[in-house]
Assembly symmetry: D3
Homo-oligomer: 224 residues x 6
């Protein structure tokens, strides 16, 4: 007998809101280069973007029983995170389930297997990040853990962690670190805005990155 | 001496028309999960879509002699299906041949090797599904079978089978099964439309998929 | 002590202009099928296109110190060519450096590793060709050659060679061959335009490619 | 209701014996470069080798129900050919089934998915060719065709075709062509033995392949 | 400031000893098909085998500073588990460190990046499981967690979990479950020995797996 | 008209002899981590090893005309280096050409495409390094450069450079640097022998690598 929980602490809504204004790349840097999923997990369309609490579920490869189950228990704004063995040749999620998700106000879906009905996903505006697009269906045979930690794209995700995904990829922020990561990310964004202004004002990489002494220390002399 | 035929029975035009209104994923499910090409064969642009009779041809890798030959013999609405060893680093089809195809009213092209001049293909509106995009040209050295069964993307295609391809992928329907597959696909579409309406009306996955007894039978108890 | 040069002969501006009007595939064919980078190096967006003098640099994998250094020394119109070990899981270039490049009038960037901030790259209109998109940052530890020949995507690129890239891929033209390649490419384009007109006017592949005797010589007889 | 046949015509035993003395590469060449499975299907150990009648079966990915069923019906010397979706992360065959196969005098097994217990397979001496080695088990849920044509490694195999596999790979010979292929292969072997003797006796590639006029005709002049 | 622990509870030595007599595949099955690392992590030589307590460490890709640090703190019989970004083109471990490990009585090493000096590893008899073999060295720049949970090959490993690896692959057993897994594995081994004996005694798959009613229930009727 | 040269300066025989006693990994490190071919190019058998002057040749993918030509012009001890588009599904070299090579005293062959007749290669003792093993033959259609610089496995090789390959991989040493690389490699070997002795005598990584201050400087404090 396996017991599937649906209870976990969700992140603070205000913090999720703040993270949604920051890019996945900035967040990844700001939290010490942690939490980036492999680059093989990508948006169905580069205009898709999401930010919300992870609702985790473990599926067997080519089996979406637990994904379907998860949809029954998500709350508005949640992001379903499906670990399913990184199998490319299965479309585990399509237009019917997408409509079920929309009806529940889901924030999006991230999976390491494939999805299908991608033109419908575009039309619905549901942000979906997957490893592949495949028309091959899945079975509904195997139970597995729900709302437990899962590994996906090489990282560990706990239920209640914040998932942030955009055109560049996906990053997970630990729930307990999220407020601190917002601050660090905003500082990084501010610093980068400053660099960008400086470049637009005509400053050079040499000046801004103080390259000359750095290169000299490493043994490189540039002949101009 | 190799004899290349150009004669084969084409599918019923009305059935092709009906299949063109159904998605590749729906058809794949409706015919018992058969006939899906590997997900590595994908449209040059996600807005491309095709449906038509397979005109099959076998090329050597990095050689498009038989593809060129096929263009000479296709009929309006046919879809050329090129099996060429799944080689990624060759652009076997480009703007010149695309114009030749357009002039003949070709329905589209599906290949397990690469193509090029993809912006022209977009502009022409010719639907092309390939394994890769490559600028490297092909030679014209090797003869091979035409209008014979070929394997592509892991499945067998006979000349006269119906090819249906869209943003999600490619499926082949046996000519002799096509009418039956239309019926089964439409039934599936109707059923799915019903599910979607139900979800939009507020029904849950639990209700629609009757999940609770299914999960209990498999040994999963959900703690809400 | 490593000495990094920034001096090399750039190609003739008029020739670069002429090459920019020709497609990567046409150029590749016209120069004898040489100089095509592997098809794994592709544009961030299929509407991106570039043509300019190669400014070469060698980075260690997951290290962008020398890319940053290169930006300091490029001239308007140059295309930075970064060889970095074909590593997919690193985003070596993003919005800050892209702004630095725009400020200097860079012609574009080609790399065999990943980039990030791709929506910003689209918005800026800076053409970038890479092997992947990744949010994972790079270190700035390792010096290496600049403005020396590098291998990328399976081909050798010298500083001052002309890089031409579009939706289909990337080709390098040796600086000393560039004028000759323009002529050969234009001749090929003219010939292809003739073929296209002929196809549109109703000529067949059989006529234009003189297929029947060619196939017969190879031993294929078509039964119509 | 699916009807699974176990009846098909097996190849002539004497011809199978003759093919077993010829290498997979020689046979592939001798039958016109047809029938080679992709190089991703390889022996568990390079000393493994097999030759026998194909007993075909189609499994769902990560499901070995039909492989198990096939074992019940094979005859001594048969080679089970399992098409299972080219899935790498499943070990569909191990020591228990290998013992069942040995007891029935099976000639070997070829699959496009994974196997496990490979040290036992080595010890038993049962020749097994697979796409991967994986400890992850399979389910027994899905029925499928048996003794029907299957595609595997990019080629079509009919029940009763001859499978020949060795350290270099796997080739299928159509049952109806087998005798003719033996003759052509032996002629090729004889010719190659002659070349080898000539090389050992000091002849050069120039002489044996008559390279100089061939290269000159293609436009290559060697400066020695 | 990062604090690196070296303290964790190791598994019971007797249980480790018992697990070492069981195969990775059997253990994986017996614990409910959990804990298998991806099949891309494989032994340097198929005769290598290990069983011991996980000593976990997180390295940056192409950086072995923390692996070197781990060697300083391991205890006899430990197995170092290195998560390093699944990077193939780096040889992070070779003969010098292998000798350091041998001197400390290490049980073996498992990594998702590459190793080198593989002939020395064979000669030393140190069991090493890696994703690749590469001569390219690593840097020693980046600190990271040690004796903390890591993800490797798609699974989570805690320090003190038991690693069991052989020719077929690698499985991790949670320390707290290890005794129970031994029992379940031995039961499975006993059952499999029974099946093997039965097959050798002439029983068929039909009898042992009770296939006929199972297939009939699923809708397959075999025509013999 | 293409002119193929066969003349180039070979490396000093004594230096080649000295390099043959050094491992590929040691040489790669000693020359500043340059010249390593991608790890996808590997020996047919891990006991194979070679060292000799590069005789370079460029083939079209799936075409071995220029490889055959090269065999005509090599000198004893040379190593043929074939760049052929990194195509996996072709066996460009087998037992007949291997015998031709043996008769000429060839030092070995390195290619980025496939080879076949691998059991014969083992029996002959000819060291061969390739990207794959494939039974599919090649054509003899395309001329190309010989004894010109080629790119292979991501690096540039000039004729007359020294190729050193063993179980771990392949490295190229520039002819003009070879003597210096011998010295640097031997120094590295001596240093490593010292470390190994120290480890065997009971010294720890902490002592030998002086880890404690290094880690502290980077911000890691180990709690023992």
């Amino acid at each position: 007998m396996l017991r599937g929980s649906t209870k976990f602490e969700r992140p603070d809504a205000a913090v999720v809101e703040q993270l949604s204004a920051l890019s996945s790349a900035t967040i990844h840097e700001a939290q010490g280069r942690l939490g980036a999923l492999d680059s093989t997990i990508k948006p169905v369309d580069h205009r898709m973007s999401l930010c919300g609490s992870a609702f985790t579920v473990q599926c067997a490869p080519r089996d979406n029983l637990m994904l379907q189950t998860a949809i029954a228990y998500v709350r508005p704004g949640d992001v379903i995170v499906v670990s399913a063995g990184a199998y490319e040749e299965a479309g585990s999620f399509g237009d019917v389930l997408a409509n079920a998700c929309q009806a529940k106000g889901l924030g999006g879906l991230i999976t390491d297997t494939g999805v299908r009905d991608t033109e419908d996903l575009r039309a619905l505006g549901l942000p979906v990040f997957s490893r592949s697009v495949s028309i091959k269906g899945t079975v509904k045979e195997t139970i597995g853990p729900m709302c437990e930690p899962v590994t996906i794209g090489g990282v560990l995700v706990h239920p209640g962690d914040v998932m942030r995904a955009d055109a560049d990829g996906v990053v997970v922020v630990r729930r307990e670190d999220a407020a601190e990561v917002v601050t660090a990310s905003q500082e990084r964004d501010d610093a980068e805005a400053g660099y960008i202004s400086a470049y637009r004002a005509g400053k050079t990489v040499i000046e801004i990155c103080n390259l000359t002494p750095l290169l000299a220390a490493k043994g490189l002399v540039i002949e101009e």
